[in-house]
């Protein structure tokens, strides 16, 4: 069991039991066992305050935004924009108009690939990604490059799963139009030195997009300090409802970009001959947005900032260290991704069993982990594995749950040998 001495851990001021009580699903049983939810990298559960806020909004305050001249709509618009302000504050920009809502990171990256890429990337240009990107930060750039006759270049990683910055430096040149890398790798947990990556990219005259899907739930982000050009996020990984996310972009870039989705709400004026576009962020938010989800996102941001992003980072780092030590002690288990700077993700393979079998069997003990390629097949290829099992932790996880994880893995190994 968790020994408080080995779990040196709890230096943070975070009360896990109190936090767990905020999450109704954590008291449910699955397969007759208490849920041990370790798939937070895929999606996170919702605290009562988010569930209640969404319900109250739908029950008492719901209305369309930016249109109606009646109170309900005016109030909904105000709440909607207040949520945008919360997102802006969370990511460290004073101007909420630099935040555009999308359905999540996938759509956010596609938006940049279209609205920036289709306008500014030309034949012969180069776009740089890394070898440890999610498919959402790979495929949109491949498609863009193919369409434009541009070239996709890839920053290699070392055997620990860290980007090799020297090689990145060599890839940069006056043809580099854009660099797109994640802040945290979803498959390995590596925290990339994005501030340095941005600085190097800018020195070469490139714009830099940071995929923040896996970082924004776990650490303090300051886009102005990073000086990145775009920073994406997914609400459902930050304890908010699914279907909402977005991105920060520098205003001068937003103003120069063409619309991605067109239709209502993103226009200034439409005649049958010609349409002029609204200013950002409306230009990039055609159609009725997911209003309720935006309100839920605001509540989720209040919740996590209430706990404190530094507290979250520190506690999750302790969980990571504790889990890493436990799993490293299991014979026949290999952790994939041993970067010095890691977020609370442990990806591993067993000599004895395939990740899908591991996932199905751990589920018998109520443990939810992800087995597969994590939408990061180039990462799997780089590390010579078809798939991994991934335990991704949140501040609502406990040391004891990692003890159960380790015991269950031992049972799987025994069964297959």
């Amino acid at each position: 069991m968790a020994d408080p001495n080995t779990a040196l851990a709890d230096k943070s001021s975070l009360d896990v039991e109190k936090i767990r009580n905020e999450f109704p699903i954590l008291s449910k049983k699955f397969n007759g066992k208490p849920l041990i939810y370790l798939d937070n990298g895929a999606t996170t559960h919702k605290p009562k305050c988010v569930i209640d806020r969404v319900q109250k909004f739908d029950a008492e305050e719901y209305g369309t935004v930016r249109r109606g001249s009646y109170k309900l709509s005016e109030r909904a618009t105000q709440l909607y924009e207040e949520s945008r302000q919360k997102v802006a504050d969370f990511f460290g920009t004073p101007d909420r108009k630099e935040i555009v809502f999308t359905s999540g990171t996938t759509q956010a990256i596609n938006l940049v690939a279209y609205s920036y890429g289709r306008k500014f990337v030309k034949a012969g240009d180069e776009i740089i990604i890394s070898n440890i990107e999610h498919h959402a930060n790979t495929v949109p750039w491949q498609v863009l490059c193919e369409e434009k006759g541009a070239k996709l270049r890839v920053i290699p990683v070392n055997d620990d799963g860290e980007l090799v910055l020297e090689e990145y430096g060599k890839l940069l040149n006056d043809k580099t139009r854009l660099v797109a890398v994640n802040h945290v790798s979803n498959a390995l947990g590596t925290i990339n030195p994005v501030k340095e990556i941005v600085k190097m990219g800018h020195a070469a005259g490139a714009k830099v997009l940071i995929d923040g899907a896996q970082s924004s739930p776990h650490m303090q982000i300051d886009v102005k300090d990073l000086d990145c050009d775009f920073y994406t996020f997914s609400g459902h990984k930050m304890y908010a409802p699914s279907g909402i996310g977005g991105l920060y972009g520098k205003m001068e870039l937003w103003e120069s970009m063409i619309p991605y989705v067109t239709g209502g709400d993103m226009i200034l004026q439409v005649t049958l001959e010609k349409t002029t576009y609204a200013k950002p962020p409306a230009r990039f938010e055609a159609g009725t947005p997911p209003i309720t989800q935006v309100i839920g996102l605001g509540a989720a941001i209040d919740f996590i900032t209430g706990i404190g992003m530094d507290n979250i980072f520190e506690y999750e780092k302790s969980l990571l260290d504790y889990g890493t030590r436990l799993l490293q002690g299991i014979e026949g288990l290999k952790i994939i991704g041993n970067a010095k700077e890691k977020a609370s993700i442990i990806s591993f393979v067993l000599d004895a069993a395939h990740p899908h079998d591991v996932g199905t069997l751990l589920d018998q003990d109520g443990i939810a982990v992800r087995g597969g390629h994590h939408c990061a097949q180039p990462t799997m290829i780089r590390f010579g594995v078809p798939a991994t099992t991934r335990a991704s932790m949140s501040f609502y996880n406990k040391y004891e749950e990692l003890d159960v994880l380790a015991e269950s893995i031992q049972k799987v190994i025994k069964m297959f040998s």
Binding site: H356, T360, G372, H373
Partner: protein
């Protein structure tokens, strides 16, 4: 403590550890490459068919995948060797419907023999494709699907 799981029975664990017919057939008359893009399972099924008699003389597979996919491939090859093409298609249909929960060999007449071991997988919708990949690939080979098959 150990797992008592209807899916991972001893026979399946054994076929996973020691897959039968896990080899290439150099003189194969039919072959097909099958993938499950969701989980990355990847295999090739080889058949040596006597075209005059319409009988599978030899059948084998190579590839990577989970225990369910490997055991299913192994049991399939062992079961189909010597069967006619017609029988093989009937068995494919029954097996495919069984793992989807649309055919119950405990209640309906069938030709599945020990393949009934995979009945339990209908309780695990996320894993049915692991069991059926080899079978789709086998049919793909018989149907000359040169572009390969995919579970998606």
């Amino acid at each position: 403590m150990s797992y008592d799981n209807e899916l991972y029975q001893q026979v399946i664990l054994d076929h996973n550890r020691n897959p039968r017919n896990f080899r290439e057939i150099k003189s194969a008359t039919h072959s097909c490459h099958g993938v499950n893009p969701l989980c990355g399972d990847d295999m090739t099924v080889y058949l040596d068919v006597d075209s005059e008699k319409g009988v599978i003389q030899d059948i084998s597979f190579v590839g990577t995948g989970c225990a369910i996919s490997k055991a299913s491939s192994s049991l399939m090859t062992a079961f189909l060797k010597g069967k006619s093409l017609e029988e093989s298609r009937v068995i494919f249909n029954e097996f495919h419907k069984m793992v989807l929960g649309e055919f119950d060999p405990e209640k309906q007449e069938n030709h599945l023999g020990k393949l009934k071991l995979f009945l339990g997988i209908r309780e695990y919708p996320s894993r049915t494709k692991c069991a059926s990949l080899a079978w789709h690939t086998m049919i793909g080979a018989l149907d000359r699907k040169t572009e390969g098959v995919s579970t998606e």
